[in-house]
């Protein structure tokens, strides 16, 4: 379903796939030769001056060979890769954002995901069951609002957000830090396929680039730039999600953060964002309001769970909204393990709690 590729797009993809190419170099080269076609021709004929983007002679020779070989063209033809060039009409980021990727590569069967309003959901990989549930729920909510969910396809919050949106039939954009032909993490293979089928996977990296620690924060700026609003669900103090939030603030995107318990280290980052002025996200429809839209749906649907028994209520009270292990529940309620076991099973079946990581979590 890809449209006819222009010479500019082929040249841009070839440039983006050159080894040791970075966003800054690409920008400089494009500026010097006024467009991808000219830039590629200059590199191919060895006319690239070393002061344009501070390359060594060896790199320029390598670039020259690659430009002549035309591997990137064959690659994108085979894979049906789409190419977006900054400034072109279909480039998904319309406002001026500093140091953005001049060329984005994307693969997926639903590129119209870019035509809807977009919200990024980001967070930690070490998510708690509560965080995962929030991400999944929010993804589903946004999908129902016809909003595209943008995230990073990582373990934890990212994956849960994608899954929530996909399960609700929504469109998603996954921004990855590797080449488009690499699946990382591998256990998200199925999720990658689902994102390709119901949205787009986007990268600025060349094919074959594997996961490198330095590329993830760089990728996060694209997530922030692609989104109209950034929601941080759970973030540790020093995680990539806070970097994304930082970029979002620089780019003038509203940042919302889901508040968490101060005892939860996976929520320390979101709480810090709130303390710094991010909007605390308590009701999902606030995301829609933050985009300047009116939520289509009214507030949350009525709770259809069976009313818990007296013992069940006592146990929920003992949990106090946070996770606790059975030993702690026994101490707090003063009941025997058998009595608590029966109540736990009752509440679990009714959907009031879930058990994970050896603890009981209220839902």
């Amino acid at each position: 379903v890809t449209k006819e590729r222009s010479a500019d797009e082929v040249a841009a993809a070839t440039l983006a796939c050159l080894p040791r190419m970075t966003a800054a170099r690409l920008r400089a080269v494009l500026a010097r030769f006024e467009g991808p076609v000219g830039a590629l021709r200059a590199i191919g004929s060895g006319c690239l001056e070393d002061e344009v983007c501070e390359t060594s002679a060896a790199t320029r020779r390598m670039w020259q060979a690659h430009a002549a070989a035309g591997t990137a063209r064959r690659r994108i033809d085979e894979r049906g890769t789409q190419v977006w060039i900054e400034g072109a009409a279909d480039y998904p980021i319309v406002d001026a954002v500093p140091d953005l990727a001049p060329v984005l590569l994307g693969e997926g069967r639903r590129p119209e995901a870019f035509e809807a309003p977009r919200v990024a959901i980001v967070g930690t990989r070490a998510a708690t069951p509560h965080g995962l549930a929030d991400a999944r729920e929010l993804g589903g909510f946004l999908a129902a609002e016809q909003i595209t969910v943008v995230s990073g396809l990582a373990i934890g919050i990212d994956g849960a957000a994608h899954e929530g949106a996909l399960d609700a039939g929504g469109l998603v954009v996954g921004v990855v830090a590797t080449g488009l032909d690499i699946t990382y993490p591998r256990r998200h293979t199925v999720l990658y396929e689902r994102v390709r089928a119901n949205g787009v996977i986007v990268s600025e990296q060349a094919f074959g680039v594997g996961p490198r620690p330095g590329l993830f924060p760089v990728r996060n700026r694209i997530i922030a730039a692609l989104a109209d609003v950034v929601v941080v669900v759970e973030a540790t103090m020093r995680g990539g999600a806070r970097i994304t939030a930082q970029y979002a603030l620089e780019y003038g995107r509203p940042v919302l953060a889901v508040p968490g318990s101060r005892r939860n280290p996976s929520a320390a980052g979101t709480n810090a964002l709130i303390a710094d002025g991010a909007h605390p996200l308590v009701d999902w429809s606030d995301v829609v309001l933050a985009m300047g839209m009116t939520p289509a749906r009214t507030r949350s649907t009525p709770d259809r769970r069976a009313t818990p028994s007296a013992g069940g209520r006592a146990l929920l009270d003992a949990l106090g909204g946070e996770s606790a292990n059975p030993d702690q529940l026994a101490s707090r309620t003063g009941r025997t393990p058998e009595q608590i076991a029966i109540v736990i099973v009752e509440l679990e079946r009714a959907g009031w709690i879930e058990r994970a990581q050896g603890a009981v979590w209220p839902r």
Partner: protein
């Protein structure tokens, strides 16, 4: 000029009767041992000769051939020395030919003729007694242990010269040394432990109780410092005392493993090997003569593996057979040895690499998954009881004392003994799936609860069977005839997916 003396050698933890034949023939003076002796047995020549000469007895200046029958089995250790020495005296007519009819001889000889301790006396005496010997001659140190075998007259040999005099009837047999005490003094810990010192941890305590009563393997997961190890070590204090048969079994194994003991081991052994232990150290084996491993030393007791995830995967997977069969078979040409290994496995592990567990854990999902993979699913499946232990609450009170818990455990064990009498099983945990319906019946209500749990947790038939056994133990601890819904549900919750 031919004499034969009954003795025995250790084969694993069992005794093997050995007939020591001594032949004295004219020829150049010499001494030959045939019949697969190991180095210690071959060296007996020097010890026996020196002992005979030190005892002012005549060493026959002729050709001496010693045969150890059955000759296909490798003999180990110096425990045959005394039998060889007595055989030489018999063959050289220093002793009347019939004094050793129905008598077995055990002991190592010193160069001065004194008779020394042999490991595994209990197993050895047991073997010769089964072979028809009514009297055994043993070193003084082993007299008490030998006396544990019923129907055997124990004679003490302090040194070779005295033994010869006694055998000839020239002097009376010496009295065995006074026994220190019947109770085995080998307490596993320096300080007395008590469950009363543990605050909170109600569920974990219940699991511990079930492990002690029903013989269920227990896995505790939790952050460091919450009391996993503290709790596990106190399992020994609530284990029921060994029955007479069990006590003999345990004493036999420990004696064969060379652990000094005087009298019967009455309390269940507690073994806690370090996680650097090799496969052979854990399950037994080793080069040359196979030795019993930690699983065998924990027979009828507790095997405690702290930091389970730190053990090499090979060692852990080697545990699977003993856990299932309650015995270890070690094949060595030309025989296969069976070491008993009926123990309760108690293991502790951290929930993740950082050890903190939820909600404080900062490990990534990938790191957690990698950590989990260290414990194979088949191994985890063999734990009937698996639970996470969390930090105590500020208001937690000191718990029930070991004495009071032990009373309940003893009662539960008595109930199981009555239920399982006439079957080969001793504990609820041992009852195989095929016999569950007959031995551990469920009421209609409890069946419903079990079916509900099975469906809700997508359990396999094996998982459901394990829950059923634990539920029966919980009911036994409550002194209940019927398994209630609460027992089933608690049993299911005590089998979490940890770590």
């Amino acid at each position: 000029v031919l004499a034969s003396v009954i003795s025995a050698t250790l084969l694993g933890v069992d005794g093997q009767v050995v007939t020591v034949e001594v032949h004295i023939a004219s020829g150049l003076p010499g001494y030959h041992v045939v019949g697969l002796p190991d180095t210690a047995v071959r060296e007996s020549r020097e010890r026996v000769r020196a002992a005979v000469q030190s005892s002012q007895l005549k060493w026959p200046p002729t050709r001496i051939t010693v045969n150890l029958a059955p000759s296909a089995i490798r003999k180990a250790g110096a425990g045959l020395d005394l039998a060889v020495g007595v055989g030489v005296l018999l063959a050289s007519d220093e002793l009347p030919p019939d004094v050793l009819d129905g008598v077995a001889v055990l002991g190592e000889l010193g160069l001065d003729g004194t008779v020394r301790h042999v490991p595994g006396t209990l197993a050895l005496v047991d073997a010769v007694s089964r072979a028809g010997c009514s009297t055994v001659i043993v070193p003084p140190a082993d007299a008490a242990e030998a006396a544990l075998v019923p129907g055997v007259t124990v004679r003490v040999a302090r040194d070779l010269a005295e033994l010869r005099a006694c055998l000839k009837g020239e002097s009376a047999w010496p009295d065995p040394p006074a026994e220190p005490c019947d109770e085995h003094p080998d307490e596993p810990f320096d300080e007395p432990l008590d469950l009363g010192e543990v605050r909170g941890l109600t569920w974990a305590r219940r699991a511990l109780e079930a492990a002690a009563a029903g013989g269920h393997h227990l896995l505790l997961a939790g952050p460091p410092g919450v009391g996993k190890t503290m709790l596990a070590r106190r399992l020994a204090t609530i284990m029921p005392s060994l029955t007479d048969v069990e006590a003999l079994d345990v004493t036999r194994v420990h004696s064969a493993a060379g652990r000094a003991s005087a009298g019967l081991v009455r309390r269940p052994p507690f073994r806690s090997p370090h996680h650097t232990a090799s496969v052979a150290a854990l399950v037994g084996g080793g080069s040359g003569r196979p030795n019993p491993g930690e699983v065998t030393l924990a027979h009828h007791g507790i095997l405690f593996l702290d930091e389970l995830g730190e053990f090499p995967p090979r060692a852990l997977d080697a545990l699977r057979q003993p856990l299932e069969e309650r015995a270890v078979w070690i094949a060595r040409q030309p025989i296969t040895l069976c070491f008993p290994a009926d123990f309760v496995l108690v293991a502790c592990t951290n929930p993740c690499p950082c050890g903190l567990g939820p909600p404080a854990c900062v490990c990534g999902e990938a790191a957690r998954a990698r950590y989990r993979r260290r414990l194979s699913a088949p191994l985890l499946d063999r734990f009937d009881l698996r639970l996470s232990v969390g930090p105590p609450e500020p208001a937690d009170q000191a718990g029930e004392s070991s004495t009071s818990v032990r009373r309940r455990v003893d009662a539960a064990v008595a109930r199981q003994r009555a239920r399982l009498s006439g079957t080969p099983w001793r504990r609820n945990a041992h009852v195989p799936a095929g016999a569950l319906e007959r031995l551990l019946p469920l009421s209609a209500e409890a069946t419903d609860a079990l079916r509900g749990e099975t469906e809700a947790r997508l359990l396999t038939g094996r998982g459901a069977a394990r829950i059923r056994r634990v539920a029966r133990t919980l009911a036994d601890l409550d002194d209940a005839t019927e398994i209630s819904t609460g027992h089933v549900v608690l049993a299911a919750l005590l089998r979490e997916d940890v770590p």
